[in-house]
Symmetry: C2
Subunit: 309 residues, 2 copies
DNA sequence: CCATGATTATTGACTCAGTCAACATGCTGG
DNA sequence: CCAGCATGTTGACTGAGTCAATAATCATGG
């Protein structure tokens, strides 16, 4: 048996191999460059950091101090770098590129840019877009060191469909609900927009790490003074980080602010995680009926929250 | 001014730097490994290919023949590899791992898997999913050497919403159409599903390189014997590779097969690319009326194709 | 059948990468 | 003031990577 974890490891290793073979040598040595990859990395650091010091470069690139020392020695011999003792710290050597050094860096930049440009241009537009999206994603994964925080925002183009797609996809996979479920969501979403009244309705998208990870909709109910909470969902990856609670709180607060006296919601007992969230937010079950829906035997529930308390 | 191309190059370079720093050393040398990265790569090839020959490894890894020769010599001295002359080809050396070689490879595998597993486990689930999706995408970009061909398939969970999302997003960006356009699509899509009759309706998704790149829907019309072509779209990346034509042909063929005598469609003059496709497929304009829609002044068109010809 | 060219493998020579240990020097916090 | 730490250098060594030369073998076309 192969677990998901094993598969992940295998995929990442496959990626590593592809990368080493196809991309690895790109960022540095175009053909005939006077610099090796490692030298180019050091030169890049020298050119881009302010007041470069050897130790800083060592840390930034994860290289051995000995190697950086020798590389800089070579650069000095080639007339690319000068160093002077730091006035503040006698042990620091302030490094700076000479004019020749800057010129060398500039042609290096031009050439590597050109060679990467060539790679990009050689790809089919479809693949190019995919490669770049993936590269940006990986970058983001390692750049953002803080754990990804979710934030709420309003609706943007594409969101309505995305909510439909994700919920349709997830409930089909997790609970085997049929396509009529997705169609139901599409209809709710479409009607939400047709009847939209900013004084009565609202919707939130939860976003984390640049991706939609959840949604919630606030829609006016049939009875005056009541509203409905609809289409709450949280992506599996993002569960357990308080996204659901955040969404419900925003929805309840807005319902209060708009003057509603009661907030209702419909769900089925199968969705245990959601039920816990409703409970914690103070909702109570007011109705429960067995029902056949989406190709499954389910138990419908209506929950209600008194907003006047 | 920074063009998209420049930005792409910069992003790919940034990715390259991130990679070299954060992932580069992973696939090979766990801490205290008796193999260098390059040696590990060669060992991997020795262990996984059938009837390994030095020249094959040279090509697969893009290494210098001299280096591979010396690496294998070291392996032989360490008792990891034996070689014998190929009976078929006197210049080929058939390499094979000894028992010790296989054992060394196996512990290497275990350890690198563990160290990659550690990296994966250290990431937030959200980021892990993102990293892996991106790694798989990059792999796919370089694995599929043939230009990505589009293929058609039926509806799957999530497709209805995805069609809505992509069309809403694209027409908002390209033509400034408002959110009511997205809501309209959501409604069409929802109604399509509610009224779905396999003997009268159909839908296709175009997929290329594992991604949805277009859609088309066939829906029965009000008048008997007539059908409507709806929701045709092609992703910008995938334009110019015949996806639109493929979709229309599938739709027209199915309409014929279901016995319809006429196929209508509604569009607006702004969508010039689509208009050309309709024209080439034999559609003709039967009605044209200026109209205000989606926050724009548009000219509605109804096109029609006689299927009895 | 043979000359020619391509492929395969090896070796020498060289520079740089990368690791480890030793060492000198300056700074910093009790 | 002194121990400990960070910074930078050097020596010694192995492997990576490049280039050129060489030798053996195979494939091919006249």
């Amino acid at each position: 048996m192969t677990t998901q974890h094993d598969q992940d490891v295998a995929d990442l290793r496959a990626f590593n191999r592809t990368y080493t073979r196809r991309l690895g040598l790109l960022d540095a040595s175009y053909d005939g460059s006077p610099f090796t990859l490692s030298e180019a990395r050091v030169l890049y650091e020298l050119a881009t950091r302010t007041d470069p010091v050897a130790a800083g470069i060592v840390r930034a690139l994860g290289l051995d101090p000995a190697q950086v020392s020798r590389t800089i020695k070579r650069f000095t011999e080639r007339g690319l770098v000068t160093s002077r003792e730091s006035p503040a710290h006698g042990r620091h050597l302030l490094l700076s590129l000479t004019d020749e050094g800057r010129a060398a860096f500039s042609t290096l930049e031009t050439n590597t840019k050109a060679s990467i440009g060539q790679l990009i241009d050689g790809l089919h537009p479809l693949r190019r877009a995919r490669l770049l999206a993936a590269a940006r994603a990986i970058n983001a994964v390692f750049e953002g060191d803080a754990p990804p925080a979710a934030r709420l925002r309003g609706l943007e183009p594409g969101d309505l469909g995305m909510v439909t797609a994700r919920q349709g996809f997830l409930y089909a996979g997790e609970y085997g609900w049929g396509r009529d479920h997705e169609a139901l969501i599409a209809e709710i979403v479409a009607r939400f927009h047709q009847d939209f009244d900013p004084a009565k309705d609202d919707a939130w998208i939860a976003e984390a790490d640049g991706r939609m990870v959840g949604s919630i909709f606030l829609v006016r109910g049939e009875a005056p003074g009541t509203a409905k909470l609809r289409l709450l969902y949280v992506e599996p990856d993002a569960r357990g980080m308080g996204v659901g609670q955040m969404l419900i709180e925003a929805c309840v607060a807005r319902a209060r602010a708009l003057g509603y006296r009661r907030l209702d919601l419909w769900t089925v007992t199968t969705l245990t995680a959601a039920r816990k969230l409703y409970q914690r937010a103070g909702f109570q079950v007011v109705e429960e009926t067995p029902c056949r829906r989406f190709g499954q035997d389910l138990v419908d529930q209506i929950w209600s929250l008194d907003l006047t308390a």
